[in-house]
Amino acid sequence: MATITELEVGRVVGAPLDRKEDAALLTGQAKFVDDMSLPGMVWMAVVRSPYAHARIAMVNVDGALAHRGVIAAFSGDELADEWQASLPCAWLPTEDTAQPNHRPLAVDEARYVGDGVAVVIAESRSEARDAAELVQIDYDPLPTVIDAEKALEDGSPLVHEEFGTNRCYTWNLATGEVDEEFAKADVTVKERYRQQRLIPNAIEPRGVIVQPFPATGELTMWSSTQVPHIARVTLSMVTGVPEAKLRVVAPAVGGGFGSKLNVYAEEALALVLARRLGRPIKWIEQRSEGYQSTTHGRDQIQEIELAATSEGKIRAVRAKLTVNFGAYLQLVTAGTPLLGAWLYSGAYDVAAYDFECTGVFTNTTPTDAYRGAGRPEATYAIERAVDALARKLGKDPLEIRRLNFLREFPATIASGLTVDSGDYDAHLDAALEILDHDDIRRQQSERRERGDTKQVGIGFSTYLEMCGLAPSRVLGAIRYGAGGWDAATIRFLPTGTVQVLIGTSPHGQSHVTTFSQIVAERLGIPYDDVEVLHGDTAVAPLGMDTYGSRSLTVGGVAAYHAAERIIDKARKIAAHQLEVGEDELEYENGTFSGNGNSLTTKELALQAWTAHNLPDGMEPGLEASFVYDPPNFSWPSGTHIAVVEVDTETGDVDLIRYVAVDDVGSVINPRVVEGQIHGGVAQGIAQALWEEAVYDEDGNLVTGSMMNYMVPSAAELPSYELGRTETPSPTNPLGVKGVGETGTIASTAAVMNAVVDALVPFGVTDLDMPATPERVWRALEEART
């Protein structure tokens, strides 16, 4: 491990530096929302519907109001006038997308178990919760629909009566001669897969504190969020608090994985109630409460068809999704499956493409982004379908993959986007070498021949992902409500240390470390002289926050360009003071030299501050901002390989090896990159093998707490064998592609292909996630009979 003392100043990009974030987190000094309290602060508790669908006949808060410590209690009806707009949905993919009015508390009808119905404010946490139980509510239960396909059937109960249908929208993307390709294909495969519903489980539950300043009308909100900037804009619209009077702070945030890429009812409630009562309000989610009220992920039925030649060349892909949106549209519920819309042809050169997605309302918790958001689903479908094609043709799945790889870059893929760079053979070769592929295949054959109880399966995923969200113009074209740019400001302080204000908002991704490396390297100053400030709209007002593997590829590049602007200005001052032409100055490692003299950026920062001797007309100070709008998405790729041992008597699946070779472009901090891959892979393995959110027919979340929703521990997961190849992105000066979602995007397909590979000799090829012992055992039993 390298430490800063071993490194030359200005040579820190690419080094596995210690994280600046660690000390506070390791000592318990980091402040998460629940670690904060304010003088006069009171607590909020939300009363939630126990019915998945019910008319709210009566709400009586008198019992709660009579309870010790209670300050106020309100029904949804009593707060209805507070709302200037629905809770935000930033992405309505079609003109006819059905958008329900989503109030922070339900009025008239509750539409999922957990839908907020009333709210109680009390002096303490326990008093608020006790009193919440004393709110009397009469419900008239209504018919319920949980399953997305059933919700589309005629006569289904309607989640939102006013639309006359549960269909939210249908969205299409088609290129090339798809029908012709299918008509003339030597072989076709048609597969149906299920992406089960997942609960993201960021380990810090959500929480919010709002401090009002009644005299000025200002409000400050601390929230466990990935998106303080988006929250500020949208909550201003929801509550009518002028945006300029609203400050949103994301303090230390304990993971998000998409579940905090949202603007929630409790944030809006805390804002309006703090405004109304004139006291600071705190709400902290309980985990099992969060299972109902924080967005879920995935929940799709995928139908995918491939048309191919007899050699295995894929000519066309058809994909059709039916996606369960739950009861309402949260921030990006409707757009989440579409983030995969361009990727159902995977890493392959395909001529024709047809994608269709139908979103459906049901009486369940809303779904939204979960790590990878749309792209893990796409990768899973195409990578499993490629294996199905290989089986049908009796060919090696690797042969099919190599036959179809995109090889010339930039490459325009079937869905119409342009992949900037890559070398897919390189990461596949590297992964096979780590695996010792021939040896594993030999072991597999031996076990098959012996008829061992425990059979080995090997599964591949050669994925392509689309990250770095996103070019604003593209977002506009697909009807997303905001831009995809991000911002950075670099400010030299007079004594030579530097503040970097960034618009992305980390919750575990090491932005402080990584952005420090970028800026320290470019400005030629010590890593420890850089302070990165984030997650506070008063400190860094411009930003689009953190999701979609965008922080480095968009925000990091903004920081790079801001540093270039600093250098440009410093160069002008240096040229003036050294009395040489600007282009006669050499710049290296933070030092300008020319005419036998030199000045460092640090010295120039002091000169810029005193302003005693600047070029005529130059503004004092050494500070620069840059807002970067990426010209393209970024395109990480890689090969993941899973090796499993399946007990054919019990159905138990043991993941014995996991190899991941990823090409995420240039790397700023290899240790951070590895950590991101580890975590993503763990989440993908967990989807493949264990995790599933289950509702009963009445809409009760059966997996209602961590007792019965399996989040894996260290005891269930293996170590991973990592490798890396590198094709720098040509579209940004850092060459970076993003790494936050790689692991989940790649891994479910690798694991499930491995499980199926072990079971093929038993006639099992149709198997859904999670591959629990029961599901595997049942599949084997069915195949035997």
Binding site: A23, G28, A202, G508, S705, S713
Partner: protein, 156 residues
């Protein structure tokens, strides 16, 4: 509704003595966090599964959301705040940093206490023993690989 019954307890936390009157129903984690302002121990669930609230009570690893504060009356409690007693990270904390064993860091205090208990019982645990030793602590960020390596390094 009847007023909640109150009780006075005395505990030693990280070498400091505290006497407090509290609701008899108060959970140990709320006592530590809200009454003593030691907010390093976190709450990640309400069912005793996640381990973010892990502390040592008289040397025994405890999920402090599963214990009433009154049950800890007279006990010696160790929390994450006591690990870097002299202002320097201890060996285990340093190993976590060296091996990038934390990302968001929310589970980390509980994980550190769990590892502390493990290493007191077993000076040189195998990978398997480490994985089983921390299976009561959920980390959603790291995939555990680097946590396991950090604990192994700290053991040496």
């Amino acid at each position: 509704m009847d007023p909640v019954s109150r009780k006075t307890i005395t505990v030693d936390v990280n070498g400091e003595r505290y006497e407090r009157e509290l609701d008899a129903r108060r959970l140990l984690i709320h006592f530590i966090r809200d009454d003593l302002d030691l907010t390093g121990s976190h709450i990640g669930c309400d069912t005793g599964n996640c381990g973010a609230c892990s502390v040592l009570v008289d040397g025994t690893l405890v999920k402090s959301c599963m214990m009433l504060a009154v049950q800890a009356d007279g006990a010696k409690i160790e929390t994450v705040e006591g690990l870097a007693a002299d202002g320097e990270l201890n060996g285990l904390q340093q190993a976590f940093s060296d091996h990038h064993a934390l990302q968001c860091g929310y589970c980390t205090p509980g994980m550190l206490m769990s590892a502390t208990a493990l290493l007191r019982e077993n000076k040189s645990p195998s990978e398997d023993e480490i994985r089983k030793g921390i299976q009561g602590n959920i980390c959603r960020c790291t995939g555990y690989v680097n946590i396991v390596e950090a604990i192994r390094a700290a053991a040496q």
